[in-house]
């Protein structure tokens, strides 16, 4: 089919663009991948801009990311930023293996392309697993919080240090049980344990008596964990944006892994060897680097700033 077309073109000398005469010196497929990535850039920019907008609308009561994402699998205690730094490292690493696969594709070294593509898929899968763990941790919650009638979330503290509803109630938050506490139970516990107090939504520490009076007047329910309606860490919008933006990015990673698996099968079958070039690896590579690029921004605006 292609040969017939080529012959016809050569015969007629007709200036038709079927990827032969390339004004951008890039093939049709690569150009279209770039154009798609521009649209995706604008989508993610809009998400992050909306996040920043909401965040600076509620600067006093927006949760501190390092209070929220402070855990590391199999480790006890507080390790803010470490887990998400590891996830970033995994994604950068998988970008490197992807470039290597593209590079060996240019040299038509099939075995090395298979090796580095497989490692990229492994990296993507580990990243998705990490994100699932982080989501699980976020949904389950950690310290618990108390919602007020004005939708401000307050937290249990011990002096000037953040504590948890579980510690106050003498329960284990990680025993796999489904806990439920009422506001009255929390107030009773605060009366019985005067070393505990609360931290208000704008991060002021009240004394034990003030805390009890505040909760009597304002508290509406005890929040354990996070969902789209409310979350124990603070403003409900924080959870909404977290689920939406990291979810949308995670969906991109997931699609990327599927695409990588498809082209890996094609590489193994020798499709691109017969075609004479590994451009398909390069095109999916562009998409994969873009996913890494988006994560760099999500990492900054969700976890660092």
């Amino acid at each position: 089919m292609d040969e017939v077309l080529d012959e016809a073109l050569v015969k007629d000398h007709k200036p038709a663009w079927k990827g032969g005469d390339q004004p951008y010196e890039a093939s049709y497929g690569k150009l279209m991948m770039w154009f798609f990535l521009i649209t995706d850039t604008l989508t993610f920019s809009a998400f992050l801009a909306a996040y920043g907008f909401s965040r600076f609308k509620y600067p006093d009561i927006w949760p501190n990311p390092e209070d929220v994402f402070s855990h590391f699998p199999f480790l006890h205690g507080e390790h803010p930023l470490l887990f998400v730094a590891l996830m970033t490292f995994i994604l950068i690493m998988s970008s490197v293996t992807m470039v290597l696969a593209v590079n060996y594709g240019h040299k038509m070294q099939k075995k090395k392309v298979i090796l580095w593509l497989s490692l990229t898929i492994v990296g993507g899968a580990i990243f998705l697993g990490s994100q699932a763990w982080e989501w699980g941790h976020f949904i389950h919650g950690d310290k618990g919080g108390i919602n007020t009638k004005t939708e401000h979330v307050v937290h249990i503290a011990e002096g000037e240090k953040l504590s948890s509803v579980y510690a106050l109630m003498g329960a284990d938050g990680h025993d796999g049980m489904h806990h439920h506490f009422t506001v009255d139970q929390v107030i009773t516990s605060l009366e019985a344990n005067p070393q505990y107090n609360i931290r208000t939504a704008n991060r002021m520490y009240l004394t034990n008596e003030d805390a009890i009076a505040y909760l009597r007047e304002n508290a509406s329910e005890v929040l354990l964990g996070a969902n789209l309606k409310n979350n124990e860490y603070g403003h409900p919008l924080f959870a909404d944006y977290f689920f939406f933006i990291t979810g949308f990015h995670g969906f991109h990673v997931f699609s990327g892994v599927i695409l990588l698996i498809i082209i890996l099968i094609n590489v193994i079958k020798g499709t691109y060897e017969r075609r004479g070039h590994y451009e398909m690896v390069e095109k999916v590579g562009l998409y994969w680097h873009f996913v890494d690029l988006v994560w760099v921004f999500v990492f900054t605006f969700f976890y660092l700033v």
Binding site: P23, Y24, E25, A26, L31, W34, L37, I38, T41, L42, S45, A46, A49, A50, G52, F53, K57, E66, P80, L81, L82, A85, T88, F89, I92, M93, S95, V96, M98, V99, L100, N103, H106, K107, L286, H289, F290, D292, L293, V296, F297, F299, T300, Y303, L304, V305
Partner: protein
Amino acid sequence: MASETNGNWWIWKVFWILLFITAFEVALGIIKPSFLVDTIFLGTKLINHVFIILTIIKAAYIINQFMHLGHEKVTLKWTILLPALILVPYLLFILLNEGFYTYLKI
């Protein structure tokens, strides 16, 4: 196209740069030096400006080297970069400029 055939050293160079910048960001995020956190510049903490600048440097390396845009034709470069460079700051400007309505207490 030349760098593709000149071995893989440039890939690892970019990797180490990205890793170093990320490690530096995480260290800053954990230590939070007080002069960066307490100084307010252009409406936000100085440390946030540092994070954003470092992020843009990382993004530039990924786009330029990994996505190979630095080695494409100049016309292609601008075709891809200009829409983002115009529309993203425009979006941010609209949100910052018009967003003050939400702060009005009526």
